[in-house]
């Protein structure tokens, strides 16, 4: 019975691992193919089944017009993701601390309603915002610019930062604040000197979530830009036409996706320390 369970357990783990890794291995294999290699049907092992070539990888950095030049979109993606994440994290952490520690009241609007307003933004389908965003950015002259995208991404990421940080601050004992206040700190001093230095775990989780959602967004990057500004996912999907160059497509997909795989290691580290259980709820 015990051996049977172990057998089933490792078979299941192996099966799922195969399913998880399969697309990456396929992309890796395809990225070294040429047109002939792709047209020969599904093949997997270089040299044995097809003649490998570096063409798919070379076109990524070629800038003479015949290549894809993925470096520009890559840098734009980094700038937009990190700027929007940083701004969202700063505004979100401040707001979350306020919502967790003080009571606000405007008419019938209470603290809990404001918290809900922040978090409920996740329900909003991007398409609902797309049309007014499009018109708003056009009005501001920010369509097809990095600044416009950062503005849009703040709307996307701020609710995530508030959501994670409110929960984090709710688990920090209020006595810590009270002690600091007794020592004569103003709320702002309390926050900056006492709370913030001890909030690194929450800030890291919130930051990672912002980076994941920012980096992986396609919809706004796609609808709010045309030619001048291009983010990475848009550049990759642009290759997805009827005569798709599978080799460069696979290579560019792998290059875009790999940075965040490193994030998976960070997330697991927090999982085993038990910080995440509170933060994700």
């Amino acid at each position: 019975m015990r051996t049977l369970y172990l057998l089933f357990k490792y078979a299941a783990i192996l099966l799922w691992s195969g399913f998880v890794v399969g697309p990456f291995l396929w992309a890796l294999s395809t990225s070294f193919k040429t047109a002939n290699g792709v047209m020969g049907g599904p093949t997997y092992i270089p040299w044995l089944q097809y003649q490998p070539s570096l063409e798919g990888w070379r076109v990524l950095v070629r800038t003479d017009g015949t290549g894809i030049d993925i470096v520009g979109p890559y840098l734009s993606s980094i700038v937009v993701t990190f700027s929007a994440s940083a701004i969202s994290l700063i505004l979100g952490t401040l707001a979350a601390y306020g919502l967790s520690r003080f009571t606000y009241r405007w008419g019938f609007v209470k603290t809990s309603d404001i918290t809900f307003f922040f978090i409920s933004q996740r329900i909003m389908p991007p398409i609902v915002l797309a049309i007014p965003f499009f018109l708003m950015l056009r009005f501001l002259g920010l369509l097809d610019t990095i600044a416009g995208l950062i503005l849009v991404y703040i709307a996307l990421l701020l609710p995530i930062a508030v959501w994670v940080m409110v929960d984090f601050f709710n688990n920090v004992p209020k006595q810590i604040d009270e002690m600091a206040m007794i020592d004569g700190c103003t709320p702002i001093q309390t926050f900056l000197r006492v709370i913030l230095p001890n909030s690194l775990p929450g800030l890291v989780v919130a930051g990672l979530f912002c980076i994941i959602f920012g980096w992986n967004d396609f919809f706004f990057a796609f609808t709010m830009t045309f030619t001048k500004t291009q983010l990475l996912p848009v550049a990759v999907v642009a290759l997805n036409s009827s005569v798709t160059p599978w080799w460069s497509l696979s290579a560019s997909a792998l290059v875009s996706v790999v940075p965040l795989v490193i994030v998976a290691f960070l997330v697991e580290r927090f999982l085993s320390r038990g910080n995440l259980a509170g933060a994700v709820r």
């Binding site: 520690r101 329900i123 007014p132 994941i212 992986n216 696979s250 997909a253 999982l271």
Partner: protein, 287 residues
């Protein structure tokens, strides 16, 4: 001193209000106009867009289709994610390596992985049919018939987001107290009974949270569809977001798309609230 509390909240709140609330109010106004390519501007068309919408079978079908795809995908994600979390919860060789491996798909850009999946599902050149043949079945029309295209989209959604369920449920399992399990073991409960009577009820709150979060995110499905099938064949995989996208940002029927998107938003809020309430009712034991 009490004034300072506003310094925390207001910057974030005002930014969010400016970026989201005003555009939303503007959308409500636009939905009562006939703004399109021929007539770009705010006029007053009354409820004409909403009347048109009631007759728009393609829109209502897209909502039903979205509901089916989202619910099917989320249930599969939950069952598989819970199963995987239970498998690697306690001792397992290479524990940390396996956990990281299982998390990877949710870190990858959905739209980019969908592009890769499209090559995988290619009928003659992709590995999906190669595998099917290896198992002794006939090759399948993955993306070219309606039914299979829906299945393909669900497979990709399950690949992408089961890790999220896994992450939340594993975090939940790791934070459970030990005593109830000891008590169940002393009472002589087998693994199945201790799961049904101890693990599952204790995991109910986090299960509900995970299911609701995933349903919310799934209600926006569109990128997978856009890349893999463009809503096709025909309209077989067209979700509401994608249909509104076609109307609004391709055909530029801004007014009509605004009315569709507001209706879509309201229906999603109502459905998700009802589902959340029902989940709480049935998964949390009373008393």
């Amino acid at each position: 001193m009490t004034r300072q509390k506003y310094l925390f909240l207001l910057p974030g709140l005002l930014v969010l209000l400016a970026i989201i609330l005003f555009p939303l109010l503007f959308t409500i106004r636009v939905s009562f106009s006939s703004w399109d390519v021929a007539q770009p501007g705010l006029d007053w068309a009354g409820g004409r867009n909403y009347a048109l919408m009631m007759q728009d079978g393609r829109f209502w079908q897209s909502l039903l289709r979205l509901g089916f795809i989202a619910v099917a995908a989320v249930i599969l994600q939950y069952v598989i994610g819970f199963g995987l979390a239970l498998l690697v919860w306690r001792d397992v060789v290479l524990k940390r390596f396996i956990r990281v491996l299982f998390l990877i798909p949710m870190m990858t850009t959905p739209v980019i992985m969908s592009v890769i999946w499209r090559t995988i599902f290619h009928e003659s050149l992709g590995p999906a049919n190669d595998l099917v043949r290896l198992l002794g079945f006939a090759p399948m029309p993955w993306l070219s018939t309606g039914g299979m295209a829906v299945v393909s989209v669900i497979i990709v959604e399950v690949w992408q987001w089961t890790p999220f369920m896994f992450l939340l449920l594993l975090a939940g399992l790791l934070s459970l107290p030990r005593e109830p399990f000891l008590a169940a073991a002393i009472d002589g409960a087998g693994p199945l009974r201790s799961f049904m009577n101890v693990t599952f009820p204790m995991m109910a709150p986090i299960s509900i949270a995970a299911l609701v979060i995933r349903l919310i995110e799934s209600s926006k499905i569109m990128e997978t569809v856009y890349v893999m099938t463009s809503g096709g064949p025909g309209t077989a995989t067209e979700t509401s977001s994608y249909y509104i996208y076609i109307r609004g940002l391709r055909e530029f029927q801004i007014g009509y798309a605004a009315s569709l998107s507001l209706t879509y938003l309201i229906i999603m809020i109502v459905c998700l609230t009802v589902i959340a309430k029902l989940l709480v009712r049935f998964m949390i034991p009373r008393g």
